[in-house]
Assembly symmetry: C2
């Protein structure tokens, strides 16, 4: 939401800019609260309290807790997928994934929140359930496109259907990130590098 | 805990059996409550209420919420690792993993709980943090042993250090399971099969 406003500089003045800033503050507070208590354990009241705001003021910007959660998730996630797409187009999947992972090393708490929310929201009655189903579809599709392109260019092996590779890659990455969140002594970059090599394979000779 | 009692048939009478049964009931109720609200959102009071017990009675069996959580996790997890070890010894990693995954298809809610708890407990101040760190170490070690054995027997490729393969395998599996929990239309068995083949590789010829 803040990004949309930022893209329209004409409106970044007076009450509009103030409102965008307030929304960003609420999203930041909600990120911390949901990371600490999960979505179900976190409350709008606590999020408001952290900012010294009234509940009414928070509800003015985000009428429901679920709308606020979606804003938190969009904020955590969307920029990364965009840069993955342009990176992989220019320099291939391996480069794009490693760059993405390296960036993630700097935002441990955000990753913890995404992992927590994904697990919570796997339950069909969770308000972010659809969001995560769509998110994984979007991510796996982006990876599939990138893998297919690399196969066509002869950068990697084409022994396996790109969608199966993409799903396995996203899965391995999620899992290695979780292992690293649990034990940061693990070398995430080395683990992802080795796994990428095995899943993507060397290009066929000839 | 119930398993220990079950292994000592002489004590499965009178107050002992009753106490073991009560503990098992509390663990089952806690499993449901933690799965729905996370550990931090769940309370001993709610767990007691579900069973029509007093809080005092729950506390008599589990003096703290964190002790109860560990009992829940042990109950969810330990039997599976044991059978993985004997399966992989007899018939190799691929067979053992696929059998494990197939069993997991029947216990979606338990997997959801484990995924949720692993994400929550990745935070260093979480009461199950050590448990999960140890758990991943135990699982990766068991997989490393199994991969090394298969390499020695020429069942799989030996181009990569067994520990790196083991960590990637556990990660991919965790991630594919999460994708399946979020969208059960995905074919978990097919995805794991393909990923296993790529990560383990065919044995070197000759």
């Amino acid at each position: 939401m803040t990004e949309k406003t930022a893209a329209r500089p004409a409106t970044r003045r007076g009450p509009y800019a103030k409102s965008a800033q307030r929304r960003a503050e609420i999203v930041a507070s909600a990120t911390a609260v949901f990371a600490a208590r999960g979505y179900r354990g976190g409350s709008l009241r606590e999020i408001a309290k952290q900012l010294d705001l009234s509940l009414t003021s928070v509800v003015h910007h985000f009428p429901s807790k679920s709308e606020l959660l979606v804003a938190v998730l969009e904020n955590a996630d969307s920029a990364s997928i965009d840069s993955f797409e342009s990176d992989s187009q220019g320099k291939g999947v391996v480069y794009a994934v490693l760059r993405y992972v390296r960036r993630n090393l700097e935002r441990q708490e955000m990753l913890r929140l995404l992992a927590l929310m994904a697990a919570e929201a796997s339950a069909p009655d969770h308000p972010a359930h659809e969001w995560f189903r769509d998110r994984y579809e979007r991510v796996v599709t982006a990876f599939t496109t990138a893998v297919r392109r690399d196969q066509d260019l002869g950068r990697i092996s084409n022994r396996r259907h790109p969608e199966l590779i993409a799903a396995a890659l996203v899965a391995m990455w999620d899992g290695l990130q979780l292992q690293w969140l649990i034990d940061p002594r693990r070398d995430l970059m080395a683990a992802v590098s080795a796994g990428l090599e095995d899943l993507l394979g060397a290009p066929a000779v000839g």
